[in-house]
Symmetry: C2
Subunit: 688 residues, 2 copies
């Protein structure tokens, strides 16, 4: 019997050589059948492409070969894949029926068949075939001396058509190489939408040939040239990724108004008439680029005809740089304070029968729709744009939830039920420093909500969002990856794929493999630790980082003023990540010990405690030549002292005063030091 | 007495708080006086700029603040430095008399005064001030809790005006971010010439708007756009670095001839007259992009008028992209085989009374001088262009030496004596994988050669050259840095600064600090080791890499065919570097032990031997799940077995057969495995 068992989603095969549970695939395919046997790689391995694919498949196949060769060191003979049917007898045969079109609703499915004699990929479009190549790379196995693929049959397709990542390049500029390597990583986990947040209070990041004031006055010299933007759009398209630009209006507009204060809403103090040209200067308020984080007052004036002239000119210049169908205009967090205080705007509202700021913003947003339509773009905005008169053509980006006092995903459901296409980001805010589990279990289609099939179809998918107030090019990858791979799986795979221990296991391999694409989440950690340690040994710091996590949900920069856009982000909090490795392992150890106090289980717990006592000593020693370690010492002292007492208690060497121990553990819950928290606190209290 | 002692070049101050020997400055300043006392940093530290500097100084000062803040975590209050005399009371005062002009012969000197109350930089040009900022960063000291600068008075200026680094972007393309971070690193060690090798047999790397065939047919899609080139030239200029482009002709021309075969010298077999248009096709030979390394036959035809038309068009398009005064036309390693075999060319030589290929090449090169002069560029070429009729306006790039059967630097002296300006690269071939000591002690002006002051003045300086046959963007930094800092010191500092132990000590700190600029030499080592280990622990591999060095002087790719341009460079040899850390330390230990067999000295040696025995066991264990470790095992077995016998001999636990031991050590001299050699062999044989 050749087919031993058909396995859907998970599980394993008795008697088969390789179990599906041993495969570190992510996103998990829709259907996978394991067979007994393998296909072994050697240097003669070649790729052949047939059908009517887009030319991007040749570059994708060439990259595939280079990555495979980099992993295996086989010195593969095939150099470049440049044309169709070049090697009809190649071991890897790709058949594509048609050229795929990057964007929504394209057929991204593929079938992958690995037999002992070779590999076959069948896909409707080359986009499906490119996904299949990533699956092949994830299937690579090895023993001591060779590399091989398991015999397997996979049928795969995405659950949602919008599987996005947003990167904020406004708060901290992210150069072209950061964007490109993240596009590579997105493609590796089959994501297909890159949302590029290009304009916010802290900077305008697009070269404007007709309006050079934007970059001259509002970018600090950090912006993308139009050629770079076109290059990135092409780079993304080569990987089947659509790029959605965002220019955030009418709020979040400090950068725009720094360049063009004449379209601002702020009322100018008439005492400012000290300049010669009174009439002109007295009507324009000054703005300057924002250096802090938060929600700010500067807002575009919707009553000023010049506003629409300028925005139309902006769209005329920016739209042609992008080939995708959508343009994100922001629309979020508009306070309206300057509207309320501006008599001219109040008069405009009265004249146009606009009852409140919501209606005024709707009026404003509606003016943008034809400007975008002129360039075949559909308008997308954050959920605040969804007011009663908003066009149903707009795409609603759902982002608010419990942090904003609302139900999770509420706007998504309202949008879908109201006839809007919609995308979920609430629950996918990867800058909040929450556990990957929180994001992973956040499904765009909640089980308890009844939706018609039309309403479901309007839920396009979801998008991880990476706001950049607290990240630089040095650290951004470590906040995005590997966690975004879990969100990619949520958006691609079946809703039933929710096993957290499988996720964590697979994520370790995915994380490792992301280095191949230049993702810096692992290697830049060492860079920062070397800086903190002042070029001394980094082991103790690294071990300590495995139980510390950065403060969550914006508490690191709670007033938005501790960290300005130029503040150092080379600190201990910048190497710590959510899901601190040893904290996760310690939790498991504590739970096992509390269930069964065997010597082995006890040792597993006490080994951690001893390690933390030792770390504290080592950090004290290192700190004599490393001022950046000083802020961490109170924290390592706390955990060391609590560990000492817990050791005495657990090993029963000495009577321990519970009140004192309780106090010591409580101190491990401090959030006062070094912008991090001890992620083991919740496990420590269980040991009391 | 405020000034304790005047110290030139090196030495230390008795009784002073900080000794000059404790400073990790590189290049070492011309004159340094230490005083007693310090200036301590706090968050109020600010920079103020006065005088008539170029605007580049503002960006340089802003970068300086960000680097200082990244190291110290002080949250410096000053964000951006954007205008003159913004903070008249700032602790760091910069005075520049004039705007510097990037290029040769500019005044790059500076004076730096650090007192307990603040820092003063005086410089003729902003280029000198920018050098001073790098010195300030190198002077940063710390104790347990604070950062400070020693009180010091420095007068500094370069010995040579040409302090260059060449990067070959033809053999392996090096993207913009690689170039930019290397420009930052060059500036950190006060280098001022970036020589960009843009065209060779393996690729044409310049976007050509009028001749798109170059990149379409001869780049594999890897090239710099003209906008990127201009951006890099500007980026370099911001750092006081002049960019010299190189298009290598008439040899090394496979890429050029792949795009324009009609200017090739190859005679076509007349049997190829199978095409319709006989006359045209039969005179054009086909060329295809070279995938191997070496010296190849394809050569431009100097007898063809179309050659000069095309080259003139090329220079018309490429020259305006660069602001520097020089253009490198290569001219090296022209075999002339196709010239010898081509009757048309032979007839041309006869007609023009060109006696041999040298004279023909001179004829060819002389045609290029006016093409470049049209764009205010002077011609530079590798030393082969220096023939008897070559214009004295040409700059001679001296590169050949013992490897080519010539005396080291011979052509440099001949050039200087013959009236040519000249630059030394022989001895600075950092791709040869030789010890940094070899490069460091290689002075452009050899002591034993008598030169007049005019002749000396023609020796402009030197240039480290990084050929890229065996490096990718992943590994190139680890071949360039930190070793190029030693060459930078040779070219900047006094000729008397030659102490190797001081160099090695300072280089460790410089190496660490290069990470701040994004140089990847340290962090990418971990990336490759994780790949080799297949995501297992990397310690044993890393320790083993500390006694292994890549095969030297092109023996790694001796026939030029093992490694093609697409071969994997993710192997063990790619993490090993010259001056293997533990090999250097072991040599010291062995020498001490042989001088004095004290128990301490013995232990120092035997600790190494024990470590290597342990490494072998660990590598064997790891290899069961990591095929890429297999090729290393014979080598770790050799050193382990030799170490075991040596241990027995040294610790006198057992009689050792000297013949067997000798054999085992001899096996440690093998160069057969994994493209590396054991760098401890020469120390091991001393222990026999």
């Amino acid at each position: 019997m050749k087919y031993i068992l058909i396995l859907l989603f998970s599980g394993f095969v008795a008697n088969a050589q390789i179990k599906t549970t041993s495969l570190d695939l992510m996103p998990w395919p829709q259907k996978i059948e394991m067979k007994s046997g393998t296909f072994t790689l050697d240097k003669n391995f070649k790729v052949n492409i047939k059908g009517q694919p887009d030319a991007r498949i040749f570059q994708a196949a060439t990259h595939f070969l280079r990555r495979l060769d980099g992993r295996t060191g086989l010195f593969l003979e095939q150099g470049f894949v440049t044309k169709e049917n070049e090697f009809p007898t190649a071991s890897l045969q790709i058949n594509c029926a048609k050229a795929g079109k990057t964007g929504l609703y394209e057929d991204e499915s593929y079938q992958l068949e690995i037999q002992s004699t070779g590999i076959t990929i069948n896909a409707t479009s080359d986009l499906g075939a490119i996904h299949a190549l990533e699956t092949v790379l994830q299937l690579l196995q090895n023993n001591a001396s060779s590399f091989y693929f398991p015999m397997v049959s996979i049928t795969d397709f995405p659950r949602f058509t919008w599987r996005g990542l947003m990167i904020d390049a406004a708060r901290h500029f992210q150069p072209v190489d950061v964007i490109k390597r993240n596009l590579d990583a997105m493609a590796a986990v089959k994501m297909n939408v890159f949302h590029w947040h290009l304009v916010d209070d802290q900077g305008w990041r697009i070269e404007m040939k007709k309006h050079p004031r934007f970059t001259e006055l509002a970018s600090d010299g950090d912006y993308y040239t139009q050629e770079e933007i076109k290059d990135i759009v092409k780079y993304a398209d080569q990987r089947g990724i659509m790029v959605i630009p965002e220019i955030d209006v009418p709020g979040h507009a400090t950068a725009i108004l720094t360049a063009y204060p004449e379209i601002g809403s702020k009322v100018v103090n008439s005492n400012a008439n000290f300049l010669e040209n009174k009439t002109q200067t007295s009507t324009i308020a000054p703005y300057s680029l924002e250096r802090n984080s938060g929600i700010f007052t500067p807002t575009i004036d919707p009553s000023n005809p010049r506003t629409y002239e300028l925005l139309s000119e902006i769209f005329d210049e920016v739209c042609p740089l992008f080939s995708g169908k959508y343009f994100h205009i922001g629309g979020d967090e508009n306070e309206g304070k300057d509207w309320d205080a501006n008599p001219k705007i109040q008069a405009f509202m009265k004249k146009n029968k606009l009852a409140n700021n919501h209606e005024l913003q709707t009026y404003f947003t509606m003016q943008l729709i034809p400007m975008l339509k002129k360039h075949q773009k559909e308008l997308m905005g954050w959920e605040e744009i969804m007011t009663k008169n908003m066009s149903k053509e707009a795409v609603i980006h759902s982002w608010r939830g419990p942090n904003e006092g609302l139900l999770s995903g509420q706007s998504l459901v309202i949008a879908a039920k109201s006839g809007y296409k919609t995308v979920l980001s609430n629950g996918y805010y990867i800058d909040l420093m929450q556990s990957v589990a929180d994001h992973y279990l956040n499904d765009p289609i909640a089980k308890n909500i009844a939706l018609t099939s039309e309403e479901r179809a309007r839920i396009l998918g979801g998008e991880a969002v990476m706001w950049s107030e607290l990240v630089t090019p040095l650290t951004i990858d470590s906040r995005i990856w590997p966690r975004t791979a879990a969100i990619a799986e949520r958006l691609w795979s079946d809703a039933a794929i929710t096993d957290l221990s499988s996720l964590r296991k697979r994520l370790k391999t995915i994380s490792f493999r992301l280095e191949e694409l230049g993702i810096t989440h692992l290697k830049n950690k060492d860079v920062i630790l070397r800086n903190i340690s002042n070029n001394q040994k980094t082991e103790a710091l690294e071990d300590f980082s495995k139980i510390c996590e950065p403060l969550k949900i914006y508490t690191r920069n709670s007033e938005g003023t501790e960290y300005k856009v130029y503040s150092p982000l080379t600190l201990f909090a910048d190497v710590c990540t959510p899901d601190a490795e040893d904290a996760v392992a310690f939790e498991v150890a504590v739970n096992q010990y509390l269930e069964n106090k065997s010597p082995e289980n006890q040792n597993r717990v006490t080994d951690f405690l001893k390690k933390w006592i030792e770390i504290n000593s080592k950090l004290i020693a290192l700190s004599s030549n490393a001022p950046l370690i000083q802020p961490i010492l109170p924290l390592s002292k706390n955990i060391s002292e609590a560990s000492q007492q817990l050791l005495l208690k657990i090993e029963k060497k000495q009577a321990v005063n519970t009140a004192i121990l309780s106090d010591l553990i409580e101190q491990c819950n401090s959030k006062k030091y070094a912008d991090v928290e001890l992620a083991v606190y919740s496990s420590l209290i269980k040991l009391l």
